[in-house]
Amino acid sequence: MIQPAMPKSWYAPTKPHKFCPGCGHGIALKALGEAIDELNIQNRTVFGCDIGCSLLAWNFFAVDSTQTHHGRTTPVMVGIKRSRPDLLCVGYMGDGGGYSIGSQHLLNSAIRDEKVTLILINNTNYAMTGGQLAPTTLPGQKTETTPYGRDVTKTGYPTKGPEMLAAITADGAYIARATVAKYRQLRTFMKRALQNQMEGNGFSFLEVLSTCPTNWRTNAAQTWDFLEDQMEAYFPVGELKSPFGKGEK
């Protein structure tokens, strides 16, 4: 049987992976795997995952990996990086983990210009716990804790993480938003987010717009429409801050 090519840095015994069919996590992790391969950093990368659907990636890569607590991946990665600056620390988290419970860590690590790479999967909900409101839930979107739709007068507007981080980080930070719908761009941004840490330029952050058909309760076409039409309209894709020249849109 012919299998699709797998990045060398993927851990083959744990494939096929455990994400739901149609989930964007797998695409983001493929881009990350290919970026690790291309930069040839498999042996000095440490991958840290949050509690959320990202936890399903705890043994996804053939790189040293550690699972943390919900929202706490950032400080664990900072602790490793500060102790072993030669290692490349990649924190992988959801929008709940990064923008809600872990937001103080995200904000303060960005302000301190920690030399880590953080990848945040924006799927507009708390997927692992069954589809509740996330900071990124779109106005009017129904979730398990907004059964009548997100009311922005009560819960505010969706968090725009990269925009916020771009405003508070020093020059040398790399801040971008990609989407699993544009794979080549996603892979390029992944690579730059890693390269920026390798060069010691500064804090690196990549938000990835992703899909969650299970909790959105969408079929394939509806899933893609929601990602490309509704999410991209609210969350513009592109590089907001990059030491590698003019931001790519």
Binding site: H70, I101, S103, G130, Q132, P135, T145
Partner: protein, 363 residues
Amino acid sequence: MVEKPITGSRKAFMTGNEIVTWAALASGADIMFGYPITPQNEVMHYWTRLAPRFGREFLQTEDEISAGFTVCGAVQAGRKAFTATAGPGNVLMQEPFGMAEAMRLPVVAVIQQRGGPSSGTVVYSQQEVTLTAYGGNGEGHRIVYSVATHQEIFDYVIKAFNTAWTYRFPTFVLGDGYQAKMREPLELYDPAERGIQLVPPTPLVGLPGAIGEDREPQHLCNIYSLEEELYDAVLRLEKDYQAMAPLVVEWQEKNCDHAELIVVSHGVVSRAADDAVQALRQEGVRAGFFRPVTLRPFPQQQLREALRRSGAGRLLVAESSQGQLLRLLRQELYGERVPIDALLMPGVGIVDEDIIAKVKSIL
């Protein structure tokens, strides 16, 4: 006029989480603050669907620290507020629960225990006994009801609001993932129809009247300059707590007459223990059953009396943790000479056969 959530009484077949919601509505809870965590999520799911119908509020906070502190704020404002959590969320809430202990805030929290340490499992355990009863940097001035049936979930959530607002100590209903997720028949009722008076909430801030004319300003605090000031404050808490303890302590005792051995358990495990003791009695084995319903305050006097009356020479503790109830027992029974055996199964369920086999291996 907003309708009553429950009029009269009616039979229902529900999950534990759904019952928590109905009980909180029936208790007159005004607002829930929460953060998603399994196995508690459906409390919020039902609450967000039902609350608007009855003029109640909900806020999903950014984490459990915030959920706990928003509850502290809401009760200071004189609203009946509550939260529900589990595992790592219970850990994070210990900071606000500590503030509630120190400042006598009638915080109500439902804890659906899951496996630990760390993220553990999302399924079940009885590993949050120590945390719920004694978490925080204080002396455990809390009330903890450990429930065993779906009827009790309904009864004790209602009771928890009343206890909290009567005595002003943080009050917990300790359940677990099994009880949260399984369905069981029960009777929902309007507390008024059972003669249960709902204790009205009273505010600590935003009081009526002009400051300096009608009243003094409120200055609520939880930090002291001197060791002696704190010492006095803790002694006051302890005195009030000890005065309250006999009024809220609850336990269940069955088949203890002439028992050779008494099985001590709490929560859902006590159902297995009850079945096991009945089966053993039918076989002629003189086993007895004792269950603390309040883990804090602990019914230590009652257990000592059960020992004395029965003449039982042994105790067996059965629990889904590595000895959290056992430690409580050792502390509460200090001075008794009775040997304590233990069936400790951290994070997994215990059924009657487990207990029967253990008892037979001892006697």
